[in-house]
């Protein structure tokens, strides 16, 4: 079954915004020194992927399957965030900083 031209137009309409969201998250991870802000960058990357999944599900007509996958993705996202925040708070407790430039204990 070939996709209708109109439905693919929707992908090209959403594409630039998804790419912008992805670049913003990626730039944040690379340019920041704060661990919490790096985690926010990871969140933005996940948002871009979620938006891409929803759009592709809408175009292909597989909305139920897409929603099931997105729910799984959200559950995993929350667990990753909880554990990452726990690790960040642990880092802060032992080093009294969230700046990655000061985390040199394992520098070898």
């Amino acid at each position: 079954m070939t996709a209708a031209a109109g439905s693919l137009d929707l992908l090209w309409f959403f594409g630039p915004f998804i790419a912008m969201l992805f670049i913003i998250g990626f730039y944040c991870i690379f340019a920041t020194y704060n661990l919490i802000r790096a985690l926010i960058g990871v969140e933005l990357l996940i948002k871009a992927v979620t938006l891409l999944s929803v759009v592709v599900g809408y175009i292909s007509g597989y909305t139920a399957l897409t929603q099931a996958l997105i729910i799984t993705m959200i559950v995993i996202e929350v667990v990753v965030m909880v554990v990452a925040i726990g690790i960040i708070l642990g880092v802060r407790r032992f080093n009294a900083t969230l700046d990655v430039r000061n985390l040199r204990n394992l520098k070898g």
């Binding site: 079954m1 070939t2 670049i23 730039y27 948002k47 009294a96």
Partner: protein, 160 residues
């Protein structure tokens, strides 16, 4: 389409504000705004259950997690804030330009290749897909949730 454009622009502007704002608390609020706008977009794209999950979990729970983590950190003094603001501006002024350039660049990609879609979906109920067809995903979710719970328990274990 106009509504889609407005929501997408809101998402990108909120994301830019999240990254470029000085305060971590404002960044957490910006992230919640991105999630809320994304859930509206999901609702518009026929994914209401995923939209509810996104709104309740990502906008609610993750924002609360970030705000509580930020509240446990030390706030900066005024001198540190001014020094930090200058340094941040030096690193991040390029980001909006880069994002717009990438957006324009991607908008020129317009493939005319015929994409073959799979056969139409036979089951349209999310509950049946999630609980019957994707049963392994549910088991994986339970395992990951347990791993996360035990991980947090170990991380916050009180040492005598």
């Amino acid at each position: 389409m106009m509504i889609h454009l407005i929501i997408l622009t809101t998402i990108v502007i909120a994301a830019l504000w999240t990254i470029m704002t000085r305060s971590l608390l404002r960044a957490a609020i910006g992230l919640a705004a991105v999630s809320a706008a994304l859930s509206v977009m999901m609702f518009r794209l026929s994914a209401p259950l995923a939209a509810v999950f996104e709104l309740s979990v990502c906008t609610g729970l993750i924002s609360v997690l970030f705000v509580s983590a930020i509240s446990l950190t030390r706030s900066m003094t005024m001198d540190e804030v001014l020094q930090h603001a200058k340094e941040r501006m030096r690193r991040f002024w390029f980001l909006p330009v880069l994002a717009v350039l990438v957006g324009i660049g991607v908008s020129f990609i317009h493939s005319t290749a015929a994409v073959r879609l799979p056969a139409p979906e036979t089951v349209h109920d999310v509950r049946i897909v999630l609980w019957h067809l994707r049963r392994l995903d549910i088991i994986g979710q339970v395992i990951i949730l347990l791993a996360g719970a035990f991980g947090v328990m170990i991380l916050f274990k009180e040492t005598k």
